[in-house]
Structures are given as C-alpha cells and as structure tokens.
Symmetry: C2
Subunit: 629 residues, 2 copies
Amino acid sequence: MITKWIPLAQVTMNDPFWASVQTLIRTVVLPHQWKLLNDLVEGASPSHCVENFRIAAHEAQGEFSGMVFRDSDLYKWLEAVGYALTIERDEALEVVADEAIALIGRAQCTDGYMNTYYSIQAPLERWKNLTEGHELYCAGHMFEAAVAYHQATGKPEFLDIACRFADCLCLRFLDGNHGYPGHPEVEAALIRLYEETGVERYLDLSRVFINVRGVGEDLRTREEKVGGYTPIWNHLKDMPVSYLQDHLPVREQHEACGHAVRAVYLYSAMADLARLDGDMALAQTCQELFDNATKRRMYVTGGIGSCSEGERFTLDYDLPNDLVYSETCASVGLMMFARRMWRLTDDANCYDVWERALYNTVLAGMSQDGKHFFYVNPLEVSPERIAETPALAHVLPQRPKWFGVPCCPPNLVRCVLSLGGYLYAQEGETLTLLSHIASRVDSSELSISLSREDDRYTLSINSNVKTVRLRIPDGFELLADYGTVEHGYLVFSHQGGSCEYTYQMIPKLRVLHAHPRVAADAGKVCISYGATVYCLEEADNGKHLCELALPRNAVFNKIYPAWMPAGTFALQTEGVRYSAEDWTAAYEAREPEAKATQITFIPYYLWANRGEGEMQVFINVHKCTDVHD
Amino acid sequence: MITKWIPLAQVTMNDPFWASVQTLIRTVVLPHQWKLLNDLVEGASPSHCVENFRIAAHEAQGEFSGMVFRDSDLYKWLEAVGYALTIERDEALEVVADEAIALIGRAQCTDGYMNTYYSIQAPLERWKNLTEGHELYCAGHMFEAAVAYHQATGKPEFLDIACRFADCLCLRFLDGNHGYPGHPEVEAALIRLYEETGVERYLDLSRVFINVRGVGEDLRTREEKVGGYTPIWNHLKDMPVSYLQDHLPVREQHEACGHAVRAVYLYSAMADLARLDGDMALAQTCQELFDNATKRRMYVTGGIGSCSEGERFTLDYDLPNDLVYSETCASVGLMMFARRMWRLTDDANCYDVWERALYNTVLAGMSQDGKHFFYVNPLEVSPERIAETPALAHVLPQRPKWFGVPCCPPNLVRCVLSLGGYLYAQEGETLTLLSHIASRVDSSELSISLSREDDRYTLSINSNVKTVRLRIPDGFELLADYGTVEHGYLVFSHQGGSCEYTYQMIPKLRVLHAHPRVAADAGKVCISYGATVYCLEEADNGKHLCELALPRNAVFNKIYPAWMPAGTFALQTEGVRYSAEDWTAAYEAREPEAKATQITFIPYYLWANRGEGEMQVFINVHKCTDVHD
C-alpha cells in the first residue's frame, strides 16, 4: 500500500491566483535572485554566493564571504529552477542553471566533498564542527536541488555531483560514530535522493543520522572533546542542547522544541523514515511532535517559533503577537513536515496545517513585486513602537530586499513552485484530491481536470481508479449530492473511464478565538476566510489599530480594492473605535467611548505592500452595545 | 508667599501600617543594608562600598570594586539613617553613622573632591567623563545625606564635608563652561544644600547645571573632543542623546524622555528652581513634562520607564505589561518630582501621582521581610515565560537579596523614612493636609493630631492658622459637613486655638480602564481600592491567570488572609475561568467555555511574598453572561 503524490511533471496549476504567483516567481523572482546571488542588485545585502563557488573552483581569487551556509542559497535557487523548468521549459534559464551546476562540479573536491566555506577558508576543519558548520545542511540542499533538477530535465550531471557527495558522506558517517548534523536537512534530502536513485545506502545514512541523534553526550560536547573544534557563533554555546534537538534520542522527544526550522526539517525526515521503515514507534513520536507543534505552538497564521533568540519554539500557548519570530523558512519546513505526516497517516487534517502555513505565513514572505521578503512574520506591528523597543528589533515593518542570512526568500520560492506536486495522490485504485487548486493532470494512466467558478468546482477524471477522495479543508463547507464523508474526506466511487463531478466548496468566514492560555489574545479574535487569515492595516484603518474593536455580531462585506490581486478581496464591517479625547490620564475609572467606524480587513499575506504602517491580526472584541455615531 | 512642608522632625507617623513599615526599615532593613554595604551578607551580590572608602582613605589596600557610582549607596543609606534618627533616636545606629561619616571625611581629598572610584582608580580622569562618570551624581547623594543627617542630629561634620565638596564643584563648574552631570541628581541636591545652609552659590550652581544642559553640542561629543575621555559603558554610546535629557535646552523639552530616573531627578530640580526663581517659563516646561510623564507615560502602578534597554521612557501610551521596566528608583524620583510640582503649583493632583507611586511601585520594591528588593516592577509575570524569553530576562519573578547596581533598595528606604516630612504644609496662615496618614505634629507654633478609625478621621488642630485645607485624594470620597471643595481640597476656616474636625474618607473600589491607545490593555481592566492597585497571584488563583476574566458587574468582598499585614485585605469576587479542555487547536471558531470561579485580588505591593508564581495586574473582561457552573 504505497501512497504517492502525482508528481509535479504531470500537474499543471491553472488557478489564476497561483498561476500569477508562479509566473511572477518564474519570470521576476528567479532572475532577480540570480542577480542577488551574483551581487548585481544595488542596495541589497551582499551575497557573494556564486563568487564563493568560483573561488573554490580556482576560477577566481579571494576569500570566502558570507555565512558558512552560503552555498545553500545557490542550491535552493537551483531546486526552484528545477520546479520552474518542470512547470514550463525556459531554455535561457536552463543554460544559466547548467552553467551554475558545471561550476559546482568544478568546485567539488575529488573525493566528492563540496562546501565552499571549508574548501576555501578552513580545509583542515572539515567535519570538525558539525554542530555549527552546516556542511551537512548544505549537502542536503544540494541533494534536493539535484533531484528536482534531474526530475525536471533528465540531465544526469547534477545528480552525479550529488551522489558523489552522498557517497563521500556515507564513507564518513555510515558507521554512526562520526556525528550528525547540527542543522538537520540532509536526513530528508538523503531519503529524496534514495527515492530518486534507489541507492539504499542513502536511506541507511539518513536512518543513522536520525538514530544516533541525542544519544549519549550531545554533539557539541563530543566535538569539543575530539579537538580541532573552532566555534563559529559564540551565542550558540548559550543555547540549551534542545536548540539543536540534541537533548534526547529522537524517539524520546515529545514536544516541539529548539530552533523551529531545524525542528521541522528533522521531523520531516523522521516522518519519511517512519513510513519507509514501517517504524510504528517513530511514527508515534512524529504524531506527538506534530500535534504539539501545530495544536499548541503554532500561530493562527501557520507560523512557528515564538522567540527571536534562537528562532525557536518556547512553551505551549506562548504565542505573543509582538515578540513573535515566525520565520518564513519555518513555515516552509512545517509544510514539508505536514505533507509527510499526511503521507504517513492519511490524516486529512495534516493538509489543514499545510494550507494554513501556505496561505498565510509563506505567502506573506514575499511582496507583490516579488523583490522584497520577510524573514520574521509578526502578528502585530507598530513601526513607532518597534523603533523604540530593542526587544522588537527583529520585527521589520517592511520587507527588505535581501538579508545577510537569506535563507527565506529562496526557500519560499522553491516551496511555491513545487506546490503542484502535492495536490493529488494515488494509492492503488484510490485517487485523493488534497488541495482544491484549479489544475490539470496529464499522464499515460490518468487525466484529471479541476476547474472552479466561484465556489463551484468541476472535477473531470479519466482513469481506472475505483475510489475518489476529496479532502474537506478546514474553513470550508464542501457540498455534493454524492459520496460519503469519511475522516475528513468526501469519498465516492468512480466507475472507471471518464466522468465529471461537480461540488461546491464554500469558504467560511470565521471569527477565531485563541485558546484561553494564549495570554496575548485574551479578549481578542481574528478573522479568517477559508484558509486565509485576515488582518488590519493602518493604510485602511488609520493609526492606533489597538483602539478598534469588533462587535460580536459583526457582518462583513467583500470589497475589491484596485491594489489587491484579481480574485482577492478585503472584508469590511461596522465596528467601533474607542475614543478617550476627554481623558486626562492613561487610566480612568470609566469605559472609553465607543464610536462607530468602518473596519477593513485584508488577507494577512498581503500586508506591508502599501508603505510602512501598523498591522494587527487580532482585534479586541467590543463588549457592549452602546455605540455613538 | 512661601509654602513649606512641616518638617519631618515635627511629624510623628502613627498610622499602624506605616509605623510597622518604618519600624521594619529602621530595625531590620537599615542594619541589614549596612551589612550589605560591608559585604557581610552571604549569597548577596558583593557591594565593596565601605571598603572603597577605606581604600580611598588609605586605611585599606586594594582596588576599587563596583560600579562607578558605588559611593552613592553609602550616601543614600546615611540619608535614610538621618530620617531614621529623626523619627527615633538610636545611639548605636548614630555611632555607626558617625564612624562612616568620619571615614568619608578621611577619604575626602584636600580640595574637597570626593569620589572613591576616581580617587583610587583613575585620579587623572577626574571630571573628564561627566557623561558616564557619576561624580556629580554621587556628590548630589552626599549633599542630600548631609542635609538629612544635619537636620537629624545637628552635628556639623557631614554638612562640612558636603560644603567642602560643593565649594570644590563651584570652583570648577560655576562658569558654565566645564560641563554638567550625565546623570542629574546634584541639581536638586544643591538646592537642598542651599536651603539648609543659605549659601547662594549652591543655588547658582544648580541653576548653571540646569541652564547649560542641552545647549549646543551634547556633553559626550564635547567631552570626547576635549580629550582624556575614557568610555565606561560601551552600550551608552548607542543611546540617543535624549537618554541623558541632553538633546535640547531644558526649556525646549516638552516630552518626558530618556532614562526615567535621570529624567525625574532633573525635572525635580527644575521644579525647585522654577519656584525659587519665579521662572514662569521653566514652570511651564515642568508642567508639560509632568503632564506628559504622568498622564501618558506612567503605569497605573505609578511606574515609569516602559523599556528595559536604557531603563527609559518611550512613547505616549506605550505601556506594555510584560516588557515593562518601571524601576523602583524611578518611582521614588517621580514622588520627588510630584511633591515639588505640588509646591510649585499648589495643584492637589500632584499628590495623587505621589500616592500612586508610593502605594504601588515604591512599596512593591521591598519584600515583607525587608531583605529582598525589586528593581524592575512588572505588571504581568509568568516565571515559565520569562525563563524562555530573553527579552523578558530583566523581569525577575522574585525579589533578590541585593543587586550589582543596588540603587533601588536604599532609595526606597530613604523615601519611605522621609514620608512624614511631606504630609503637611503651611503657607502663611493656611495649613494643608496633603496625605491622610494618621500622625501628630508637635512644634512651638502648631499641634496637630490626625487619627483614624476605619474610614473616620479626626483632625485636632491647636494653632493660629486661619484656613485649613484637606486634600481630597484620587480614589476616595471625602465627606464632611463643613467647608467647601475648592480645586481638589476641602477648605474650611479655623477659628484659632484648639479645635477638632471629623470627616469620613471612603476609599472607592474602582474598575480602571486603560486609555484605548494602551495596546497591552485592550479589553482589560484593573482593580484599585483607594490609591492601591490590586493584582492577581497564582498563589490564590492557580496557574494560567490569563484564563481568568472579570464580569462587568463584579461584586467584591474583603477577606483578611493571615499572611497579609494587619489592616490590609484581599478582594474576592465571582469571575470566570475560560476553559478549552475539548479544544484540539490553539485557535478555534468558538468562544472558550466560561466556568464560574472565585477570583482573589491582593494589593500589588504585596505580590511575590509567597514564592514564585504568575502575577497579573490587568484582567480580561468577560463579555457575555453565559457562565457554566
């Protein structure tokens, strides 16, 4: 019983919203990011990424520059290019990518090792600081890129480079005595490489990395004892071992903890391994970690990591809106974990997490022009307050052009371009539609078309599958006059051959309350429509968003401001603005006056596209009915 | 028309609450702090304060140790001893103090200069870093101590030491060309010294320091240009000039800004100077700064300074409950500023600020045992969250024994022991009762007794004053069948000789709302009784205080737990606890269930006396009436 996604190569997304986002990424973002990697964008934080490869290949002179994991920026970009070329051939882009891959090949050491930082800067320190060195992390991103590029083009060169490096890793690490990654990533990538090549030792190595993690002394202590350990970041030694998910053997970890990106990358690999090995104990651990991460430690926007120091998980329900971290990469990683959990468990709710992260934090990571990116995704912003409060300095009220640590922009890009590969799945004679995005599937065995007009969907299937399952997404009502609802799916029989099914999927406008242990949201609510969380912006509502409150019986109207993308809309309602014009103190023994006002909500992912201003996801609830006009 | 407080020497506070606090301070805290200053308390952060004086006097060997302003700890302690001896003679204590004063005299330089850091550690750097060096700050604390000790004992030695140092300052600084204090304090102290000695040049020097501040280039830039400037704290150079209130001439400063203690110390001196000089422009500035500080930038607890970095004021209504600083010293300084503003303006409301700071933040600074102290006074504490959140690391859930920078404990002590000197004032034939604390005044011209039984007060006056004014405090209803209410006072005629007046002063139990621009308090309220703000503690209400909410029609009962001081009480009411036991996510499209529960509030100043736990001043308001038992 093997569940497989219908691969990206067979799926065409033609939903207008997603088509336009993907076109923007293919035509604007990818070329722009290539320029960034080559330091050709004025005013952007310098990358030096491609230059590092040239220096490592002895084709340029100079020092390594950038963070130790700089190589991964190029790999993530190449992975995204792989998806882009799968979506639509682009000869010019492919030439650029081929040249970059050839450069990587020339920079690679004869034993297969590849890392420009260590090759250029510290050749004698290779493998001596896995805790911080990110060699295995970069390896993982190379493997993912190579698989994507191979699937896109069929060209063997990049995959060969990756396998040579993977073989080099196997020689060093398969015995389990030489450590494991400080930043997980290679574990899931090795499994992808195994699935692409069939080479079992890559799966074996992933299993070794997962199994030796957190057993006995922690990695850093061990590496320091061995000697030759050169610290890279001093602050890291103040972090608890759980920052690296290195405090316990993975099967004894029950709470999502530490650096959020590291965590979900590791958990993703664990979910894959549990599936491939049929390891029920590991599957149980994955379920506990997934539940903890998504039911107690995830923002309504699908963001994870509530603390900026360590970019990490903290405590159950500790979800401050202002101090928040919620890194874009972490939500990309959460989508990776969520879809693997679905494949492991068949639980439809896993895709609710996937969509919540996608339609909110991941999409919010990029500006409408495709050239500015968020790393941190706050749920409450006052630019004036941020400027006065060093504890909020990590929260930027506007997307910058690029970052000194530019992990998020290419991560977002590879995520969005790969979406088509995770919409449909097949397991024997059962076809499952996971996310209702208008699209087409064309393969020798299967032809599917999903189209949408307003809330009406038409699904045409030409296939020999016997059972069709439509996932019923959180935030929607799915109406059909056939099938039965089973565990979050609408399930019906397909008689074989060609058939057309129509259904309605009506987004619910929901007023969401936070769990009462979320202190920051006491007395507040937020608005969501379908899977999309809405927010307030100063551009629509004026300054001092904290003065606004929503009546309990608010009725919303859709409006279509010109600046918003086609098909998206704002929500407007009558609310109140508390006023204290006649107050002489900051605290008085009376309720502020409530004045009627119009309140406009926009999708969270569209915030900060109209200049700097306040933003708020949660809004106070108005407690009484006396409103003065 | 000169308004004068009836001095401490003539006033006996016999209110049981205050008598017990003052007795604790005189009999426990002062001896304990003396031990701390002499490094005789195990487990407390080392002080080295007295030892520094011994080294400076060449009576011990060694290096200076501690912060550059360490001398001020001894001065503040001696000032408090002055008040303690005024309240009640204590020969043993006086012997200790006399010895300490003699030591200061021996440590003083022949030219009058006195600062152990510069004498021991950096004699060539004297006066070269006024920005950070705190020489003038320490001088100010010496002058205040000397005045208090002189008033207490009539002994001339300490006052002589102070005048020698003040004369040394005059020589150096009276021309206005040699700088001014980075940390204001000496300005107000010089005025006190002038008022005690009648030496006009001390007033002149204070005026110079105030007038040259913020004119032209800032102090630090100028000192760096002169040369010989050795930085003490690197972080200070990242602070804006407004941190030192050095960004504009003082008469052009309209908003309370920068380091909160520095600010209110400076403003205190400005208010004194405005009064003494009849400087209406300066008085107007003081009024603006007072209004801004107390009506827009002060917590309901009388705390000021909402940002830990720089311990400073930020923006109007930026009053976060968790990130708060609210230093004990800043509220002590706010009391200094408030009572001077009263003397300058006769505005009864100034004493509302004075009482709000006193009855909440200042009192909260000390534990019931008198041996533990708060520096930071938060309005919301979750020990677990603090432990996970470096941005909250400055917030301690328990009072420590002592601090590396122990400015607050002796400041609180000198403040509380001096209270008696600010209860009554006389201006010609008008007597004003400012704060209704049971007490007695005995002087050759005046005999007053104020006694209290529950809410009934009896004021006996034997004097030739013609008019009596009773301040009507915020938070109370004052009932009397005589007199008229004028500008916040109950005013009535006294026929001369002996007369007894009774009145009722009934504390109001008030539900206070924050100004709607205080984002942290949206949808919340706090409870105050009279001048005392109440809070919730985990010890009474269990964990997860954020789950609690107060119905809009809550009725409160007083209860008298055994651990609370006599005369104080808790307030109990029926409230709700939101419950989400059946929730599977952190955010759901339904209101959490509201379960009836008892909620107990205690006075804020008594929090953290029963072990570590959560605390909250503001509480969510329950929005509907469906409560499940």
